[in-house]
């Protein structure tokens, strides 16, 4: 649940290969031609500087701080880590969390995919919308929301305590709470990728199986699930990674007893004396990520089942054969739907409710108010975190897209050895957790660096923006490159033959074709950054506090009631903004296709 892996833009299994592109025939002399063109030279110099400064140097610094703090090789960080019981326990906890999530998220995720895509369920669209709330409600906002509803002073806890005062107020805390919240929050990958894999199954193959006497269950077990197996594996790896690197859920709901690696990195990084342990933990997290992604890459290369059919017919929902089967599935599906929708409805309701009533565990009509909305929308102090986050995300999204348009163009035009190297380097952020990237930036730019003109960037408002640009590079690059590659060469040839120069061709012919992709990528980058916490917590400027930090502060200790209500307003605002952007990107297209 980090900025790099948010709901709308997880590491996609479809393009999870660490190799940036399919093997292509490299025309000889591409690199030489690239270096003869002004655009090529500009791109090479720009990317080399950016990569060296922000992608390579921070990681080198991190390694240095861990293994050679005084210029000489030393394993003192390892020794200190091994002697720190807290740190070791956090490692164990992270692995336990990741392994548990790999099971629970699959159970819930596959169930969701089946009831929204396989079975003929009543009101399937409504079900889908309920489960899809994770697209607009995740990360720190979701963890905080659950804490305010089920936590020590949460609405539900208070409501129950009114009737049963002896109850354990911390019932929703620790390992189980983190697992539950993350299970329901991370089924997005299943909804995106497993659903589309399911939809690609040829309906004729289902009919063929039925004709041979296979029951629904047999078809599911012998045909559907085996066909989906590679995708289930890919999604499982992503879930495992999310579990390993989880920061917000353990931070907010883990309590004293259940802390994982990421919160531990955050806590160790705050004191200079334990920074090397933080760095070592971050490196371990990064290594685990790289190893898992490499496994995923290998399995993907060998194991995808391509549909044999040239004329596959679309999958149709399967009717239940028994009444009992239908009843059981409907009850389970709607119960799960309620679990997903309840926090969202609560957030909306609580944003309009008097804070004391929410705390009291009982809300009447008299308690409804627009006071919190008025506060957020009229008081600069209250609105500021929202505006700061919007500004950071918007600027970073636009910068990364505009910058990479030129890079992707250069990479698709001159496919040579140099362009491959550039592409690999630009994929570094893809294999590293956001938290490691952020820590690397902190530890590198807290002193003057000649690569940025001798400036100290830590403590300025720029550094968080740079982090946002970095984490969005791989996703943006892949999509823009694909967009450029999809422009038929004939268009450019036609423009050239009609007398257009290279720049005119790009500006008048190519850019208009890829403009929709540019807009969509900008929008998706924006939504995934706007509620970021993972990078912000390391890099934010105290005078420009982003939303994630403000929200997190509302849950710390016994924060004031007002802060809770404001958080719910932020939550609703975020859902509106993210929902609107997703609708712009996906919803309108769907409607057009249906029309």
């Amino acid at each position: 649940m980090s900025a790099a892996q948010s709901a709308t833009e997880p590491r996609t299994p479809a393009d999870a290969g660490m190799t940036p592109q399919q093997p292509v025939r490299r025309p000889r002399g591409a690199t030489a031609r690239m270096l003869r063109s002004p655009l090529g030279i500009g791109v090479v110099i720009g990317t080399l500087w950016f990569s060296a400064t922000f992608l390579v140097m921070p990681n080198v610094t991190l390694l240095q701080a861990t293994f050679a703090p005084d210029g000489e090789l030393s394993l003192s960080a390892v020794e200190r880590l091994l002697s720190s019981e807290r740190a070791l326990r956090s490692l164990g906890n992270s692995v336990a969390l990741a392994a548990t999530l790999a099971v629970t998220v699959n159970v819930v995720g596959i169930f969701i995919v089946l009831v929204t895509g396989w079975f003929k369920m009543r009101a399937r669209r409504v079900l889908w919308l309920g489960y899809a709330t994770t697209f607009i409600y995740g990360g720190i906002v979701l963890a905080t929301g659950y804490a305010f509803i089920y936590g020590r002073y949460g609405f539900v806890t208070n409501a129950v305590a009114n009737v049963w005062p002896e109850m354990d107020r911390d019932w929703f805390s620790g390992f189980m709470a983190v697992v539950l919240v993350m299970t329901f929050a991370t089924t997005t990958n299943h909804m995106l990728f497993l659903s589309s894999a399911l939809a690609k199954i040829d309906h004729q193959s289902i009919e063929a199986a039925r004709l041979m006497g296979a029951s629904n269950w047999t078809i599911l077990r012998r045909i559907v699930l085996p066909t989906l197996r590679p995708m289930i594996f890919a999604v499982t790896v992503l879930v495992f990674l999310t579990g390993l690197g989880a920061l917000t859920a353990p931070l907010v709901l883990g309590g004293q007893d259940f802390q994982t690696v990421a919160p531990m990195i955050l806590s160790f990084s705050r004191t200079a004396t334990s920074r090397d342990i933080a760095a070592l933990l971050a490196i371990l997290l990064g290594l685990a990520t790289i190893v898992l992604l490499a496994i995923l890459n290998r399995v993907e290369r060998g194991g995808t089942y391509f549909a044999v059919a040239k004329v596959a017919s679309p999958l149709e929902p399967q009717a239940f054969r028994t009444r009992w089967g239908s009843i059981v599935m409907h009850v389970l599906a709607w119960a799960l739907w309620a679990v997903y929708v309840f926090p969202v409805l609560c957030a909306v309701l609580f944003s309009f409710a008097d804070a004391r009533a929410v705390q009291g565990g009982s809300i009447g009509l008299d308690d409804l108010t627009i006071e919190h909305w008025a506060t957020v929308l009229t008081q600069p102090d209250a609105l500021s975190p929202f505006l700061v986050s919007v500004a950071y995300s918007a600027i970073a999204s636009v910068v990364v897209v505009l910058g990479l348009v030129l890079v992707s163009r250069a990479l698709t035009t001159w496919r040579g050895r140099l362009s491959s190297v550039i592409e690999y380097v630009l994929h570094i952020p893809w294999i590293l957790p956001t938290i490691l990237i952020a820590l690397g930036l902190v530890m590198t730019f807290d002193r003057p660096q000649w690569l940025v003109g001798g400036q100290v960037l830590q403590g300025t408002i720029v550094i968080l923006g740079i982090a946002y640009v970095i984490v969005k590079i791989p996703f943006t690059l892949r999509l823009l490159k694909a967009a450029f590659a999809a422009v038929p060469d004939e268009f450019e040839d036609a423009a050239r033959i009609l007398g257009a120069g290279q720049l005119t061709t790009i500006r008048r012919v190519v850019i208009p074709i890829i403009a929709p992709t540019m807009a969509a990528v900008t929008a998706l980058n924006f939504t995934s950054l706007v509620d970021d916490y993972d990078a912000a917590v390391f890099l934010y400027h105290p005078l420009a506090e982003p939303l994630g930090i403000a929200i997190r502060r509302a849950t710390e200790g016994d924060a004031n009631v007002q802060a809770m209500s404001i958080t719910f307003v932020y939550t609703v605002l975020l859902m509106l903004v993210q929902g609107f952007v997703l609708w712009l990107v996906y919803g309108r297209g769907l409607r057009r296709r249906r029309g």
């Binding site: 004729q204 193959s205 009919e207 296979a214 047999t218 066909t227 044999v308 059919a309 040239k310 004329v311």
Partner: protein
């Protein structure tokens, strides 16, 4: 063996099949032929039990199966996409139905081997994944998978449409041989008239959800009962009144719809009606000419060397065998 009794299928406002009546005898190879959207696949799917008729009934071996689930109808089907299970090997694909019926492993093995041999699959191919096979081999797997359950009826939904021309002709022959060997009642759906003529015992020509004509291939080709069948099966020219007056003024007089096949118009040295060559298509064994005759196009097929040597703009003389002209009442 199979009887469609007034089968009507509607999808919302769209009626795909308007009360189809059709009987297919045991062991017969019957083809449902027609253009896209004529209802042939819908008829086949109604027989398989994938679509439920809005009215009417389907009978198999004297039993009304209209409401019987697909798997209890005793039909095997080869799908247009083959519908092979991509996650299974060739052997597992063929054995799937047997496994579902919990047939003993040894027997499964034996029956799969037999079915594979019947369709010409080599033993070493059985262990492969289906995506490793060529289109023709995949089609063989699909047929073997349908036959291994020894159904009483085999349904084939455009099974050759994904293959290239040469393989199509080769597999067509194999399909015919196989059907004769196994003696299974077969219903074949295609829009390819050549395929239908070559394979079938009888052909049912459908158009817009209605049965136009049912008959043996020769009957369909030589004695079409409607202008649609005459035009759709084989090639034919609809004669204009001016052409009729020029070519056979007495025999083709009156208010009628007259069609002639290209091979029933002959090129002659002299004594015929003059036409100008406008199109010339050499097809190896014969040449197809499009002549401008009496102000309209007339297609002529000739196997002669003289026809092959003609050029555009040449003048030729033709005569028409009025006996072979198909006459239909003029549509209202």
């Amino acid at each position: 063996m199979i009887r469609f009794d007034g089968v009507r299928v509607a999808f919302g406002d769209h009626v795909a099949l308007h009360g189809l009546d059709l009987e297919i005898a045991e062991g017969e190879f019957c083809t449902l032929l027609g253009p896209s959207g004529c209802g042939k696949t819908t008829a086949l799917r109604a027989l398989a039990g994938f679509v439920e008729p809005t009215s009417g009934s389907v009978h198999v071996a004297g039993r009304d199966v209209t409401r019987v689930p697909s798997e209890q109808r005793g039909v095997g089907m080869v799908f247009q996409s083959y519908a092979l299970f991509p996650s299974m090997t060739v052997r597992d694909n063929i054995a799937f139905g047997l496994a579902v019926q919990r047939v003993a492993k040894a027997e499964q093995r034996e029956r799969v081997d037999r079915a594979a041999e019947q369709v010409g699959l080599k033993p070493e191919q059985l262990g492969r994944g289906v995506s490793e096979l060529s289109g023709g081999q995949q089609q063989r797997v699909a047929i073997a998978r349908a036959l291994v359950l020894e159904p009483s009826i085999l349904l084939l939904d455009e099974p050759l449409s994904n293959l290239d021309a040469k393989l199509r002709v080769q597999l067509r022959g194999e399909l015919q041989r196989l059907q004769r060997e196994v003696g299974i009642t077969t219903v074949y759906v295609t829009h390819d008239q050549e395929e239908a003529l070559a394979l079938s015992d009888r052909i049912a020509v459908l158009s817009e959800g209605t049965l136009e004509q049912l008959g043996a291939p020769r009957e369909i080709y030589e004695q079409p009962t409607t202008a649609f069948v005459c035009d759709f099966v084989g090639e034919a020219t609809r004669l204009t009144p001016a052409q009729r007056a020029a070519l056979a003024p007495e025999e083709l007089a009156g208010d009628l719809d007259a069609w002639v096949r290209p091979e029933h118009v002959a090129l002659v040295e002299s004594g015929g009606i003059e036409g100008i060559v406008r199109e010339h298509a050499y097809r190896g064994a014969a040449t197809l000419l499009e002549l401008e005759l009496a102000g309209s196009v007339l297609r002529v097929e000739s196997a002669s060397a003289a026809a092959a040597a003609l050029s555009l703009g040449d003048s030729v003389q033709v005569v028409l065998d009025a006996e072979r002209v198909h006459r239909f009442p003029v549509a209202a």
